[in-house]
Symmetry: C2
Subunit: 331 residues, 2 copies
């Protein structure tokens, strides 16, 4: 295992300490329990948006903490759900009196712990709604999931709900928005290589030199098919066609398109994928209104990519374009 | 070789086509000869800033094209200098009548070709200055370099010279600024793994499972020492101490610090390195005034990192903070 770490058991905390040093103008890291909050939280009268999940997917979620996106992020151990105490302490720290929205990716541990946290928050007098993102078209159930897994649409939902919160929308409105975004977003990923979880020290799955995993999960969960390696265009076709078929993106649709690197994929390869995706959208009469290309929801050093398409209207584009100031997404 | 490409010989052009699709509001890609120009070039009366180099280091340089940074970038084949015709056509396209500055990383082919291009530009009546970045403290001469190699300080010089050009400084002023920045910046990198150049199909260098290369070049050139793997803190100490010793960063200095990923390194590891770098700076009384953490000057999918420190004053910080709108750096 070759990693720039000191000890596996300290890696998450040391990375959080690095984020604190680097981005003190944006965020404040709290330890024990661990969470990352906007440095200017709470924002009185604003709905607070909180997400979280296992570490190893950076910049998600702590890299999305800041004005216009998340008020707090709760990082678990690598590929492990955060615990309810993290979420409760985060909620107590950042809520501004207008309620809290939990944005949860659909993994059994995450869903359970965020639900428990919501109950504790209610006892504390903090109103909480939660939305579950389950946008991965690859498989119906998976290693850590009942139903579909939650992946790239979570990034987009955090931006859009964050913008709605910033302009003063109510908790009910923002929760409805988040559910609508989840309903209109679809993702699928693939891997060329496995990653190595630091505390485990060996690859999560075995894969041959001429193989790839289509539909892989962000923790290296099995996907749809183990296939022989194909070209970038063929891979893009497989991912995009599956997404197109799942949600009837119609001619005339506008989408936000994300081509996401899994952590170990050079940017040059993501642009090659994006080029093909743009051709496919064009052929179907679908307009890519906005895009994100880079590492947003990763799997440590895994080589591979995922595609997310979100069907948008003028209102979603307006929220997308609203100012955002986080370590990883800012405009 | 596992890569998201179609054919090695088309990868650079297809990635450029992807950039054109993705960022048409920022840049325009020209083919044959290949260069990437600001979509709003030329800017009359503004000095044009042009850089370039081999592909495989993305987002450098095409990801830095836009308002406040580069007017054009000339991408060569992977790890291969661009040719003079690319630079000449780029200069003819983007010059606004106030001259052109070439920012060149110190590799023999790059320096030679940019010098030839400058002569052709003179014939065309375009005034050209060039600066050579040679900030890598690892080795004096290297596989493709007489003298020190040019690495991370090029990223910072492009931002700072771009800001100076945007506010109307003259070609002579900006060239002097660029040389001053190069004189005040130092970098050093390391690799855990090799990368694979697409057309070659095998690793650039062999490295054992328990080894690392300290002082590696961005093309996988040998560095100072092949060592047994160390912790992130020990690695950071080696890189940072070498940089500190080379340029006498004094107590009371302020620096821009970049912790750069080589392409295959998870962000979480870069934050662990940054945390240690911040401790080392603090212990020496050096203030990190600004930072960049992420993939900026990469080596395809190489795992590893580099550190760049640039000694700054109020004027350089003012230029650093000036607005910039490129695909990879924007604020």
């Amino acid at each position: 295992m070759k990693k720039l770490i000191n000890a596996p058991e300290h890696a998450v905390e040391e990375a959080l300490a690095g984020m604190q040093c680097a981005h003190s103008h944006l965020l404040r890291v709290h330890f024990n329990p661990n969470f990352v909050a906007r440095c200017d939280a709470p924002q009185p009268g604003k709905v607070a948006i909180i997400s979280g999940g296992g570490s190893g997917h950076e910049p998600m979620h702590a890299g999305f903490v800041g004005a216009g996106m998340l008020d707090a992020a709760c990082p678990g151990a690598f590929f492990t759900s955060p615990t309810p105490d993290q979420m409760v302490e985060a909620a107590k720290t950042v809520h501004g009196g207008a309620g809290v929205l939990f944005i949860v990716k659909n993994y059994t541990g995450d869903v359970m712990n965020f639900e428990i946290a919501a109950e504790f928050c209610a006892v504390e007098g903090i109103e909480v709604e939660h939305i579950v993102v389950n946008d991965d078209v690859a498989v119906q159930d998976s290693s850590f999931t009942a139903g579909r897994r939650g992946v790239g649409t979570a990034v987009l939902a955090e931006k859009l709900c964050g913008a709605a919160a910033e302009e003063g929308q109510s908790l009910a409105q923002i929760a409805e928005l988040g559910r609508a975004v989840n309903g209109r977003g679809r993702s699928m990923g693939m891997a060329l290589t496995s990653c190595i979880v630091p505390a485990v020290g060996r690859p999560t799955f075995a894969i041959g030199e001429a193989e790839m995993e289509i539909g892989v999960g962000i923790h290296g969960e099995p996907g749809r098919r183990r296939m022989s390696l194909r070209t970038a265009d063929e891979i893009t076709d497989i991912l995009a066609e599956t997404i197109f078929d799942d949600l009837p993106f119609r001619s005339g649709s506008r989408v936000i398109a994300m081509v996401n690197g899994m952590g170990g994929t050079p940017l040059v390869e993501l642009y090659i994928v994006y080029r093909r995706l743009a051709e496919l959208c064009d052929a179907r009469g679908i307009t890519i209104a906005r895009n994100l290309i880079g590492n947003y929801i990763t799997s440590l050093e895994m080589a591979g990519c995922s595609i997310t398409l979100l069907d948008v209207d003028d209102e979603l584009l307006r929220l997308w374009d609203a100012p955002v100031r986080t370590a990883a997404i800012h405009w």
